[in-house]
Every structure is written in C-alpha cells, then in structure tokens.
Symmetry: C2
Subunit: 324 residues, 2 copies
C-alpha cells in the first residue's frame, strides 16, 4: 500500500512532486543531484507532501503553490535525513547504504545545507512572509529538537516530558507547518488555520510515536529491515523511557546496560523488547499515539463534512496503521 493507491485524489500533485524534486536538484555541480536523488528518489513515503496536498484539497487551494509547498517540505525533510545520518553515524537508510556511507560525511553535510537553503529560496519566491516565518520556525524547532535529543536521549535520566518536547520539535513542527501553510495560502479563516496547524502537530506526534514502537517490534517486511535503529544508536525513546520508569531495580539495570552497552546486536534487541513489553512500554506508547490521533480527528470538526475532511481523517488513521 502506498499513498498513490490510498489517496487517488492526490495522485496528480504526488506525480508533479516527483518531477519537481528531480528538477530543482539539477545542478552543474554533479555531486548535488547525485546525493539529492540518491535520497529523494529512494522510496520516501512523501507523507509530509501528502498531508499538504490533502489539506490543500480540504481548504480549496489550487495552483502551483500546492506542489511548491510539498517540494519545500520534502526538501527540508531530506536535508534532516542527510544530517541525521552524519550525526548518528548511520549505515542504512530505507534499506540501502545511507548517503554518508556512499558519499561521505562532508557531502552529506553540504548537500543537506544546499537542500535546506533551496527550500528557503523556493519559499521566498512564493513571496508570503507568513508562510516563510512558519516554515523557518519549524526548521529552527527541528534543529533545536535534534540538539536537545543529542544532549538528552542517550541518557537514562531522560523523562517522558523531555522526550515529548523533543519529538514535538523534531517531527511534529514540520507536520504542523505543512498542514497550516495551505490554509494560509488558500485564504482559510483563522479558525481553520489554527485547527489544521493543530491537526498537523497531532499527526506528527502520532506518526513519531508509532515509529518509535515500530523501530522495536516491526514484523512487516519493509520495517523489519531497519528494525532496531534507535536501539543500536543507544537512544532512549518513549517505549524504553516508560519501561525504565516502571521496571524493578534489577530490570532497570538490565535496560540501562542493554541500551548503554557496547554490544547492541540482535540478541540484545530481543532481550530489551521483552523487557519493554514486560513494563508495557509499547502499549503505553501506542496509547499515546492513539490519543494524538483522536485529538487530530477532533480538530477536523471545523471543516465542513465532505470528501476533503474524510481524506484527512483517513490520513490520521494511517499514522497508527503504518503499513504504507
């Protein structure tokens, strides 16, 4: 299942997005399209553009700005992936060697910078300072969230609140901006603007929390390939934070030793999955994701009933299903 099949109503902007993404990274400096296309062409889910396209439909935004907003979101997201892989010393991304492994850290950092600033150029050409400000603030929040994560997420003293604050910034902020931008460009009411911004934020939170669970327990073929990435990085995400908070002293030590240990292979992964299950870390995280989806759905009440709103409702439920 992919977005094209699940949301035939946005098949056209999704197709236009691919054309535009390939076009905007064209450059005589060949390393730029090489690195750009390696990642942009590499099986990304395009969930952020899909969110913007569905929001555009729901508020009646048409014209070239629809696709531009999608392009900007995907460029920013791709830039963060390039930098994340340098930061985490990643080796695999979407089932293939990560860009830092293929092209080196230097190229990943610099092409990431190129894509970030390209997104700013495209937005500045759109010419709406409100959208520019919101996207700049989201990008700034993402960087802040990443630094916060770097400082906290490798420590067993990380709290649930700190973690939720991190993912609000590093993941949800861009979803929020992506759902909000079309409402501004489409001239929707303040009420609709606010509600859709909240919808994007809720969806982003649900998406990240579902991802945190999948990272440990995915059995779907596509997710299974990259299973355990957070664990191998030694990152405390919500399932581990919750388990640690509820664990007996002995299990508390076990979790800490597994996540902070030198060996974090398949055997250690199975061991920590069992421990997290024992203390309801996955169930708790899933419940939080479900609560975010409920909040997202409630926020849509400001929209008139109809196909546009129903499609956004479907998108919100997808965040939990995550078989796409």
């Amino acid at each position: 299942m992919n977005f094209d099949d699940a949301f035939p109503e946005i098949r056209r902007p999704l197709a236009a997005l691919e054309v535009e993404l390939a076009r905007v990274v064209k450059n005589d400096v060949r390393l730029i399209p090489e690195v750009g296309r390696y990642l942009l062409g590499g099986g990304g889910k395009r969930i952020r553009p899909a969110l913007a396209f569905l929001t555009s439909r729901a508020v009646g935004l048409t014209g070239p700005n629809v696709v531009t907003i999608g392009v900007v979101l995907e460029l920013i997201h791709t830039a963060t992936l390039l930098h994340d892989d340098v930061v985490d010393d990643g080796t695999v991304r979407r089932g293939q060697p990560s860009a830092n492994r293929v092209f080196g850290n230097a190229a990943s950092v610099l092409v990431g910078d190129y894509l970030y600033s390209l997104a700013s150029v495209l937005l500045a050409r759109m010419g709406d300072p409100r959208i520019l400000l919101m996207v700049a603030e989201a990008t700034n929040a993402m960087a802040e969230g990443e630094v916060h994560q770097l400082a906290e997420s490798y420590s067993p003293s990380e709290t649930e609140d700190a973690y939720l604050d991190i993912i609000r910034k590093k993941t949800a902020a861009l979803f929020g901006a992506g759902a909000w931008a079309p409402t501004v460009a489409g001239g929707a009411s303040e009420e609709v603007q606010l509600a859709l911004h909240g919808f994007g934020l809720d969806l982003g939170m649900a998406f990240q929390l579902a991802d945190d669970v999948l990272d440990y327990v995915a059995d779907d073929e596509r997710f299974a390939a990259k299973r355990g990435a957070d664990f191998r990085d030694g990152k405390y995400t919500l399932p581990a934070i919750v388990a640690l908070a509820n664990a007996s002293p002995t299990d508390h030590d076990r979790i800490r030793h597994l996540l902070g240990g030198e060996r974090r292979g398949a055997r250690q992964l199975e061991a920590i999955v069992k421990l997290i299950q024992r203390y309801d870390g996955f169930a708790y995280t899933r419940a939080r994701a479900e609560a975010c989806v409920s909040s997202a759905l409630a926020g849509l009440a400001v929209l008139p009933r109809g196909a546009g709103r129903r499609a956004l409702e479907r998108l919100a439920r997808f965040a939990l299903a995550r078989t796409f």
Copy 2:
C-alpha cells in the same frame, strides 16, 4: 587594529551586534548557546556586519533592521564555519580548538543547522520578501560553492575559472547580499542597489583571494598561528593553481606531490611556498585581489561624495591590507 578603532562611526551597531548575538542564541537546550557562543564570541572579525553597517550609513538606513541584517550575516557565517570544520575535519579555528573538536561533529552539524534557520526566522520577521530571497539565494550559493569545492579543490586538474566560480559562491555571494540588503531596506534607487551589490561581491572576492595568499605567507602574529590550513587540507587555491599551470614538468610534479602527499607539515609547507613564489602564484593572486578592489571602488561612484562613501572605500582597501 580592529573595526571598532578603524571605523568609529559604526561602533554603536557593532556593540549592539554583540549584545544581540548573545541574546538570540539563548536557549534552554544548553548545548546551543554553548556551541554558539564558543564560536560567536571567539574573536570573529565581524567583517560582514561591518560591511552592512557601513552600507546602511552610506544609504541612510537607520533603525533596528541595521543590526538585524548584521546579526543574520554573522549567524549564517558562523553556521558555515561550524559545518566547514566538520567537512574539513578541522582542529583549530581562530587560534583555539575548533568546535567539532570540543563538542563533536554531531553538535557542530546540528547547532549549525540551528543558526542557519535562526537567521531565516529573524529575516522572515523583518518581513521583506526581497531581502529574504536574496539572502536565501546567497546561502544556497554558499552551499553550492562548498560542494563544488569538495568535488574539485582536492584535484590538481582544478582550473582558475572553476576556483573563481567557487569563491564567488562560497564567499562573495554573502558579502554581496550583505551590502545589498541595507540598500533595499533603506529604499535606495535601483542603480545604488545594483552598485552596492557589486561592491559587496568585489569585496568578498578580494577578501578571499587575500586570505588565500595569507594562508601561505602570513607573517603577522595572528595569521601565522593558522598558517597553512589550506595546504594541510590538501586544497588547491589560486596560488597553487597558478603555480601548477606555470611550472616546469619537474616542479609540476613536486607541487602535486606536496599537496597530494601524506605528510603536509612545516617542512613541506616551506617547500611549496618556495615553489609557488617561483611561479608567481602569490603575486598573481594578489594582483587579482587588487583588481577586485579597484572594481569595488569604481562601483562606489554612484554614491554621493562624503563620509559614507569614504568609509566604504576604506573598507575595500582593508581587504588587501588585512592587518585586522
């Protein structure tokens, strides 16, 4: 000699710049102000803000936008330094251990991203889409120039034209935007806008070319400390490119072996300096820098004679003197 002494007319915005730079990087995520201040407080020359402040005076721009433009330029410049040190695996910056050595590559990449996007936020709040577009294009050009450098500058086949194109993007573009932004914000005529943009570009080229020579032959105490950085990185800058183009077959091989060799210590540095001198690499590069300054000075003819124009003329000559 520093800018405060050389240009007492901009002492106030230069002081306000320091206050603002310290203020804007304040953050509860402590790693952000720690890394930010480490570099922002660390003896930067503030030449880009000085250029913007002197241009502001020359075109009569006053008010908070003057300092904001300076802050934005310095944040972008600082972000590039953070990323450059990761890219070059740098060890020393401004006579102290570079940020990547003190805080790690991950923090340098992410705080760099934070500073870039903070600059976008501040610009978006200023609310002028033209300035946003120009600065975004300059930042994009910088990233393009850096990728171009990564792909070319470690190769003896790099040409003078390619090198000039690289520094036009990686250094001159931001100088151009910095000189231009105050003319737009100050409502100057199209003619003055164009001329000052050209002035900034010329100044940036002169500045970088003078830097390339200094990197090899600095005897001033402050420059001597970081002498040979380009050589140690194995980068072909204009002095080496020119020498290589003019060298006898034997010296051609010597230069290639020195710049491509495994050992690039003090002895090898002295050897390549002699070879570059033999083939007029420094004299040629200095002459190009002087030509850029002449062009910069000629561009100022559109401004009325007076203190504002004279100060910009002095700034242009400083690019060659570089004792500050």
